[in-house]
Subunit: 234 residues, 2 copies
Amino acid sequence: MENKDSTVKLVGFWVSPYVQRVRWALKLKGVEYEYIEEDIFNRSHLLSELNPVHQKVPILVHSGKPLPESFIILEYIDETWKHNPLLPQDPHERATARFWAKFAEEKLFDAAWIGLCSEDDEHEGAVKSSIEALEKIEENLKGKNFFGGDRIGYVDIIIGWISYMLPIWEEVASMKIYDPMKFPAITSWISNFRKHPVIKEEYLPSKDEMIVYFQWRRKVLKGTFPPVFSMKKN
Amino acid sequence: MENKDSTVKLVGFWVSPYVQRVRWALKLKGVEYEYIEEDIFNRSHLLSELNPVHQKVPILVHSGKPLPESFIILEYIDETWKHNPLLPQDPHERATARFWAKFAEEKLFDAAWIGLCSEDDEHEGAVKSSIEALEKIEENLKGKNFFGGDRIGYVDIIIGWISYMLPIWEEVASMKIYDPMKFPAITSWISNFRKHPVIKEEYLPSKDEMIVYFQWRRKVLKGTFPPVFSMKKN
């Protein structure tokens, strides 16, 4: 691999919400890049070469140096291209943004995914946890256009998947997590997010293709999920 | 709570490895603070007031503003007190540090904890996963005194628990994860870490008290852990 260039490449998979975050972030920064589609079910040597530890997408390759994981890539993008900041400047506000991003990932994304791929008790527990997470996110979002205030930023990108993918998961798994009447702040945020010029213009997988894809994932993964919601620490 | 001061308080629990990280980080920065011990099994109103979402320690209270979660607190500390940096300056090196911290947390800490609190298949799966994670950490650490090179930093603090707590977990749950002969780089790192002037001077819970505490946790939590190691995504 070249080492002295400044090219940006993104190795992704068309339907990955993790990859979608990086697409949005690069677009918000106005960074030009080459997109490389990787078949994650038939992995090429590229994936093990660029991300030997996890062999997962997304991988951002900047100046020949590969970097995995959407959370880490987003911080990298924000530190490397400093215009249109994703995170606030104030340390406490930065920490608060990181807190909500982490919360949304661990309590909503992971729970909703298990809801998608499970049945019976696991499924019900996951749906319940997802709704509880959404209630806390609703509370945090009240009175704001975006998570950071008036400008789109880090938390919006992390949580952006609920604006287009959560409805697909709900449909595929016949579950109800997001209720527009119960979550007016989130409803209004979804509208703000989707109407944002950069988000509006950026690629999104089609609804039909997502339905087919996640129906297949649900079928394959159903039953492989344990009731992790009883896990306790300390 | 006061809002215009610059006092630093740390709400903690004596045996929490998450709290320990914040102790180390504040000490490395030379930041004076008031330590407030919280009984996490008999939570005071302080905990729900300062950390309403998770009600967990550690909580760093700086200038009256509370902040939870060790990963987030460490970044905050590094951004607020800029001397003796924990993270490197270069964005790619910062990202690499974050990657290994996250890896160690998700693949080693969480797995070893489940190993501590489980039996049979769950226990064996967790021990196996922990060893695999340690193998990758060993590979990453080869030839270096600390994770970032010659200076102690972010990853060392995150992973520091293995230098004093992992042996306790191993003893309590009769498991073998860390083998000094198999992991010479980690063995040498443990020695460097424990000998570091700041780490050497900082409080650590006593071995005997940790044994008693974790024997009790194991007894209480045993059987509550599902085999999460079969979880798959995408």
